[in-house]
């Protein structure tokens, strides 16, 4: 009896260990992704590229403007791939986290912890973390996503060289700045959704359906046009219009034409705030206010005259960060980025256009000029008074 008991207890303990191991291997940190996704072709392409068996480490870069869906695509690919690796780690919001005290070291710790599945001692400096990652992960076949990278030092602290990870490892980097993707084997720029895709995504959020309700087709099209194929905007708009009646819709859409939606603007503005230096910001604002759909040569000439140096580098930086597009010879930008830029200018003095740094619409320009004429007259009169 004793023997049989010990056998079964022994076996039960053994099976417990196996189950733990299986669960560990299965639950490779699946990430929650929205239920209804549109335009996932790119995710399939990336998946195909990364799942091809090769001994080397492969790095893929995903770039594009804020809210275009970089992180979502990275999550979808991560979920499909993660269970095949010895270890996987999704480092989200790297730029945000690295601003914290010792933030990069925290990220290094997370990378080690998620992959090794065990507690890691605190890392008190980045250089130490770098050594630990190199030592511990260089023989591991891992999948790592570096989400929202904004500076090279962030990449250098987490994945300075390919050799830090074992053979057959895979890395995905998402960023708004394509300039950071020089080491990537392939880079993918995410484009705006088509009108049909936009309408479908919008409808999921506004109506929980693939298409708009009968009475709302025209209004939906207006709302979708405003979003310009940006998934973030479509989700925010859909959610904010959901459950409102037709008048409510009209009201929201009319208001948007004058004052942009705060949630969308906030997210887009991160890119503007991240521009280093006043000149870059000024170049962006000038284009947003005056130079959309102008010839690049012309834009460069005007900007050059103002800033006193060749603005070619600045234009290239803005392009790398997906803030402007250069289509052939023409400079242009997403409507919502344009609105964001103009809002930055408007906010500097909401009530008095005359105090803003730029005036782009005729009405404001006229009013300001009128006032200045008055002011000029006053000055003139006062001068005249003083003379006599």
């Amino acid at each position: 009896m004793t023997c049989l008991f010990s056998v079964s207890r022994h076996e039960a303990k053994f099976i417990k260990g196996v189950i733990k191991d299986v669960l560990n291997k299965l639950s490779r940190d699946y990430l929650c992704v929205p239920e209804h996704l549109v335009g996932m072709d790119l995710a399939h392409n990336i998946y195909d590229f990364l799942s091809t068996t090769t001994d080397d480490v492969r790095i893929v870069g995903i770039h594009g403007m804020p809210g275009i869906g970089k992180t979502t695509i990275a999550k979808v690919v991560f979920n499909r791939l993660c269970y095949r690796f010895e270890g996987s780690c999704f480092l989200s919001n790297i730029n945000e986290t690295s601003k914290q005290f010792n933030g990069l070291a925290l990220l290094q710790k997370q990378l080690l912890h998620d992959i090794l599945k065990q507690d890691v001692a605190n890392i008190n400096c980045v250089d130490r973390g770098t050594v630990l990652i190199k030592e511990r992960l260089c023989r591991k076949r891992v999948l790592v996503v570096a989400d929202d990278v904004a500076h090279l030092e962030q990449l250098n602290a987490l994945m300075g060289e390919r050799s830090w990870f074992g053979p057959e490892s895979r890395v995905i980097i998402t960023t708004r700045d394509s300039n950071l993707l020089r080491k990537a084997d392939r880079t993918y720029q995410i484009k705006e959704l088509t009108r049909d895709q936009s309408l479908r995504l919008f409808s999921w959020h506004a109506f929980m359906d693939t298409k708009p309700a009968e009475d709302y087709i025209e209004l939906s099209k207006d709302a979708v046009d405003y979003c310009g194929g940006l998934p973030l905007a479509l989700e925010v708009m859909g959610a904010c219009l959901s459950g409102k009646n037709r008048d409510g819709w009209q009201c929201v859409i009319d208001k948007l034409r004058r004052i942009p939606n705060h949630d969308i603007q906030g997210k887009l503005r991160i890119s503007f705030d991240a521009l280093d230096g006043e000149e870059l910001q000024n170049a962006f604002l000038d284009i947003a206010c005056f130079f959309i759909d102008r010839k690049k040569e012309y834009v460069a000439k005007v900007l050059g005259a103002r800033c006193g140096y060749n603005p070619e580098v600045d234009l290239e930086t803005l392009r790398e960060r997906s803030l402007i597009k250069v289509l052939g010879e023409t400079v242009t930008m997403h409507d919502l980025l344009r609105d964001m830029g103009r809002e930055v200018v408007r906010e500097s003095s909401p009530k008095e256009p005359g105090k803003r740094t730029r005036i782009w619409n005729q009405e404001d320009a006229w009013n300001v000029l009128e006032q200045q004429k008055v002011r000029a007259q006053c000055i003139h009169e006062s001068i005249v008074m003083r003379i006599f």
Partner: protein, 185 residues
Amino acid sequence: MYQQLLIDCSLNSAAEMTEPESSHSRPEGAYDVFLSFRGEDTRKTFVDHLYTALVQAGIHTFRDDDELPRGEEISEHLLEAIRESKISIVVFSKGYASSRWCLNELVEILKCKRKKTGQIVLPIFYDIDPSDVRKQTGSFAEAFDKHEERFEETLVKEWRKALEDAGNLSGWSLNDMAYGYSFSL
């Protein structure tokens, strides 16, 4: 130095699709675990307990019923179950190698491990030395003597290779802590 290949695919995500997609993260009907084992050796005991424990833990498990009559070839249904599983657990017992169905299954499982679906293979050595599996010694040697008489050389070679590969994988061994075992059995 590695190549700094910058291919901007600029792939437009614009291709038309008729249905909204799901993330495909966990395809419907796919199994978490495929259990491969020799029924005669383990069905009534260890595998039963393991299977029950897996199911209780919410792990979607496929257990092949090798008591059902089978044809010469491994069935399409079985192949699909193997291909769609994320993990294969192979329970090596003394009689595993004497079953050609088990061996065929193992060949298929290792194919899936090598393919881009990259299946995880977890061997369990149930009262057997992993080196017997790896080198086909002990009870496996007897089984292979018989196979070599009955089957084609290429097939037998394929089986041997599969066992060698599987025996080299890290897994779980039950006789490590088999106190009391020899008494009861």
